[in-house]
């Protein structure tokens, strides 16, 4: 009986803890954590996982969407990141985390149309059932995670903004993501591993 009771309390504790970890912002991955892989549907109907990329040195994961003005402001810069870094071993993987019942403008058809119009060369994945973004701890779009592939798994090396000027790509002073990936490619530590920017809250 006592054992059963102990098991019961253990389960309660686990449930309580796990419900806390799912509790909005401030949780999710920290620098150094191993990020989960996923299997999400791309705009071409195929599924994409990090493990599909056999030769990648890491990834630029961008939680983004069609309907957020900040995400839209950064579309061309996300595309430029993929062009610059995919061949160097750091491809961009974009994930759309919003609930499409709340934001129909982010549904699969809309994602396909947007990717086609903008000529995205990176996968644009649907976080079906909204299971992945809470594990990462993304709270908004755009929200970037740079991962480095290590023996332990895909390790989080950078979390935050793309650069320091959402308004004007030409007026950017610090390219946070580029600096992070450049550092990793050079085998150095990321100097500024966490930055913050305004974004649209992820719609649940």
């Amino acid at each position: 009986m006592k054992k059963a009771l102990n098991t019961f309390f253990a389960i309660i504790t686990i449930v309580a803890l796990s419900s806390f970890t799912n509790f909005g912002g401030g949780h999710g991955y920290h620098i150094g954590d191993i990020a989960t892989d996923f299997e999400l549907e791309n705009i071409d109907g195929k599924t994409v996982s990090l493990s599909d990329y056999k030769t990648a040195k890491g990834f630029i994961i961008v939680f983004t969407c069609n309907t957020c003005p900040y995400a839209v402001a950064y579309e061309d810069r996300v595309e430029a990141l993929n062009k610059k870094y995919a061949d160097k071993g750091y491809p961009v993987i974009a994930i759309m985390p919003n609930n499409t019942d709340v934001k129909p403008g982010d549904n699969m058809e809309a994602m396909q149309a947007r990717a086609k119009a903008k000529g995205f060369t990176f996968p644009y994945l649907m976080d079906e059932g909204q299971k992945i973004y809470p594990q990462y701890g993304a709270t908004k779009t755009p929200h970037v995670y740079v991962l480095e592939r290590t023996k332990k798994g895909n390790q989080v090396k950078y979390i935050g903004a793309i650069d320091d000027n959402y308004k004007d790509a030409k007026a950017v002073n610090i390219k946070y993501v580029e600096d992070a990936v450049d550092a990793l490619l050079a085998g150095k530590e990321v100097k500024e591993p966490k930055t913050r920017a305004i974004g649209c809250s992820i719609k649940v």
């Binding site: 912002g25 401030g26 709270t139 903004a161 308004k167 004007d168 649209c200």
Partner: protein, 177 residues
């Protein structure tokens, strides 16, 4: 003939009168319209905004970060308006800090403020270096909006979430004591 003349004069005078009033009305209307359209929007960088984020007085401030393009912000905005109205005499003041893009001030933000007849004070924050100023609003803010700050001279609380009216009231009440 004499009568006809008088009638003509009367007609002229009355026409003239009508003309003037209409013109005046129109002018007044135009001036009013201009006044509303050009109602100045206070725009600050973060250094400028900071004076609104602390107090040494006795008021309780509810500062809401929002934008016209942010659906959950627009949804909760009436509750902040309601709070501003209902708690004005309890020393509570609501400040709505818009994060609309400067290019949308004329086309989106000002028309929104006008059409909704917002009574709370609205200011716009235009500061691209959000990595510097977001942690100054609150260490835990990841940057998603809506976000709300409630403070008086003694304490402050920060919320990266949406509110309905009852939730908002519940958070403000402890500050009244």
């Amino acid at each position: 003939m004499k009568y006809v003349y008088i009638i003509c004069v009367l007609l002229l005078v009355s026409c003239n009168n009508n003309g003037t009033t209409k013109e005046q009305d129109q002018q007044v209307a135009e001036v009013e319209k201009e006044l509303i359209v050009d109602s100045p929007l206070e725009v600050y960088d973060f250094d400028g905004l900071q004076k609104f984020l602390t107090t040494t007085g006795d008021k309780i401030y509810v500062v809401n970060f929002w934008a016209t393009w942010c659906a959950p912000c627009i949804k909760e905005l009436p509750y902040f308006e309601q709070l501003n109205k209902n708690y004005k005499n309890k020393n509570v003041e609501v400040l709505l800090v818009s994060l609309d893009f400067p290019s949308k001030y004329e086309s989106k933000l000002k028309p929104y403020i006008r059409e909704k007849g917002l009574k709370s004070k609205v200011v716009a924050l235009d500061d691209v270096d959000s990595n510097s100023w977001i942690p100054k609003v609150n260490q835990n803010w990841t940057g998603a909006i809506p976000a709300t700050l409630i403070f008086n001279k003694n304490k402050r609380k920060f919320y990266e979430r949406s509110f309905d009216y009852e939730q908002l009231e519940r958070e403000v009440k402890p500050f009244l004591k």
